[in-house]
């Protein structure tokens, strides 16, 4: 589903990523782990079109999507969430998800300003779809709440609901468990599995090892901008190089 070939990123004189190649298989949950500064978030920003890589290619399915802007990737079925949750704070929860349905609707400035009949029908459908996705994430009761007043954990769920509203083929989550308590993390794991059940490919960057080992089908380990290992959670846990990197023996 998602294939990276020789991704290299240089910031000034610093090589943040060097020759990373890897594949996230369709319908699987893939974890990207590594100590701080390993380049996980940089890799995510490249894949999702926020940064442009120095070298290498990104393929979505068979299509080379290297350096595509995020709005174009969204239309091709790729969506992401952010480590520090990027909600639309001044809007209500349901409106946030309605923004996620932007690509599923078409009304332009003209038809919105003049309230053409097609636009009104579309609004109703969008609102219903948005409620469906809130329900999917288990926060439908929060619909009319202003997004900025949500507790962090609920904000995370909202961000996932909003991303799922695009009906993506692949969703990338940047540290979804960051800032969550243990109960919320368990709920999150259930939600991630539920997303996989809908046939969506999941890639997550995560520090919470328990979560990663629990939900992931395969794992990519980065260290100091290089690929250290790749494999099933079990294989990774027993990999001496990974253990060394994490315990600082390397």
């Amino acid at each position: 589903m998602l294939r990276l070939e020789g991704i290299t990123q240089v910031f000034g004189g610093l090589t943040a990523l060097e020759d990373i190649s890897f594949t996230a298989k369709c319908g699987e949950i893939t974890g990207v782990i590594g100590p701080n500064g390993a380049g996980k978030t940089t890799l995510f920003n490249i894949v999702t079109g926020i940064y442009s890589q120095t070298a290498g290619s990104v393929f979505l399915g068979e299509r080379n999507v290297s350096c595509f802007p995020p709005e174009k990737l969204a239309r091709l079925g790729m969506v992401r969430t952010f480590q520090n949750i990027e909600l639309f704070g001044q809007m209500t929860v349901v409106e946030n998800v309605m923004v996620g349905l932007h690509t599923k609707s078409r009304s332009g400035i003209f038809s919105c300003a003049f309230k053409l009949p097609g636009h009104l029908r579309e609004e109703r459908i969008i609102r219903e779809r948005a409620m469906h996705w809130l329900d999917f994430a288990g926060i439908s009761e929060l619909g009319p709440t202003e997004a900025s007043s949500l507790p962090f954990g609920k904000g995370r769920l909202l961000e996932i609901a909003r991303a799922m509203a695009l009906e993506p083929r692949i969703i990338l989550m940047d540290e979804p468990a960051a800032g969550l308590n243990s109960r919320e993390t368990v709920e999150l794991a259930a939600l991630i599995r539920k997303i996989r059940e809908t046939g969506v490919t999941v890639v997550l960057v995560e520090h919470d090892m328990e979560l990663v080992m629990d939900v992931c089908d395969s794992i990519l380990v980065l260290n100091l901008g290089r690929k250290l290992a790749e494999g099933t959670p079990r294989a990774i846990q027993e990999n001496p190089a990974v253990i060394a990197a994490y315990l600082g023996e390397g």
């Binding site: 999702t48 926020i50 802007p69 995020p70 709005e71 969204a74 239309r75 969506v79 992401r80 952010f82 990027e86 909600l87 639309f88 704070g89 001044q90 809007m91 409106e95 309605m98 923004v99 996620g100 932007h102 690509t103 609707s105 009304s107 332009g108 400035i109 919105c112 300003a113 003049f114 309230k115 636009h119 579309e122 609004e123 969008i126 909003r162 991303a163 695009l166």
Partner: protein, 321 residues
């Protein structure tokens, strides 16, 4: 939804009735300006309050509308309505193409670029003497007429201008509560998240910039035909700043707030005449106090202030009893 319609109707009726109460005179002339300024502020609010993009060059579009209408109707004897449409379309399209490079910039840089746009236009108004009449201005601009009915008094112009202002308000309200309005607010709150949601932020920002220029141009044309005289002094940098102030004082992202801001900033100098030489100081003081104590603008600050006052009164009364 229903409440929105009722609110708008009440507002529209108040606008219709206002001249009957003030019965012509000087205040009516001021209210004509409140209408023009509301239109400009609402147009700017779409850009500043919704999309979160600053423009310090709105006076340029206002001026272009006024001058294009003025020149077309005097030098080339074009019908005022046609002149207005031509001006708005030309400036709207121009703004669309200028918008692409300019709106790539963010924050202070965008402010500088739009400021430059305003200054260049101002210089052209002053220096292109053959076309614009230079600093002494352009006079003899005809009034707008509808068949044999000529809008040649404050009373008539009031209804003409407020008709356009109400249409602008209505369409902007519709836009605000729609897919496009949500996309704009999304860009404002987090541009990167908006793009990840598939919103073409760059294109949408440019479109809304062009729309706000289009609205300002129409306001400019109406101004020219009402005043029958235009000169560069009305379209300087100060006026662009004043428009930004109206939007912020009224409340960013609130259409009715823009009306409040426009009304206050237009009426205040008239009221403050009583302070004579100190008027500018009092004016500044009021603006500072509003921004300090009502960061959400008058539209949000006044209701909050009133509820606070009421509960305070209630408490002090029960304390006395």
């Amino acid at each position: 939804m229903k409440r929105e319609i009722v609110k708008f109707l009440l507002f529209a009726i108040s606008v219709m009735v206002a001249p009957l109460i003030f019965k012509g005179g000087y205040l009516l002339n001021v209210l004509v300006f409140v209408g023009i300024h509301t239109m400009l502020a609402v147009g700017l609010n779409l850009l500043l309050g919704f999309a979160g993009q600053i423009s310090l060059g709105q006076a340029a579009f206002f001026g272009l509308g006024a001058y294009l209408s003025g020149i077309l109707t005097t030098t080339y004897s074009v019908n005022p309505w046609l002149a207005m449409a031509l001006a708005a379309l030309t400036v709207g399209i121009l703004a669309f193409f200028i918008g692409f490079p300019i709106l790539k910039l963010k924050g202070h840089y965008l402010a500088m670029a739009t400021l430059g746009l305003g200054i260049i236009t101002y210089i052209v108004f002053n220096e292109a003497v053959d076309l614009t009449g230079g600093p002494s201005g352009l006079s003899g601009i005809p009034n707008i007429s509808l068949g044999t009915f000529v809008f040649d008094s404050d009373g008539k112009n009031y209804y003409l201008i407020w008709f356009f202002t109400l249409v602008t308000i209505l369409l902007s309200l519709n836009l605000a509560h729609s897919r496009v309005g949500r996309a704009l607010r999304a860009i404002h709150d987090s541009e990167v998240a908006a793009r990840v949601m598939g919103i073409n932020a760059r294109l949408l920002k440019v479109q809304i910039f062009a729309l706000s220029a289009f609205i300002s141009t129409i306001a400019g044309s109406l101004y020219a035909h009402t005043m029958t005289f235009v000169s560069p002094a009305s379209f300087g940098f100060n006026f662009s700043i004043e428009l930004v102030t109206m939007v912020i004082i009224g409340g960013l992202g609130s259409i009715y707030g823009s009306f409040l801001g426009a009304a206050i900033l237009t009426l205040l100098p008239e009221v403050l005449r009583a302070f004579q030489d100190f008027d500018i100081i009092v004016y500044g003081l009021i603006l500072i106090l509003i921004t300090m104590f009502m960061p959400g603008g008058l539209i949000r600050g006044v209701p909050t202030g009133l509820t606070f006052l009421l509960s305070w009164l209630k408490r002090s009364r029960s304390a006395n009893a």
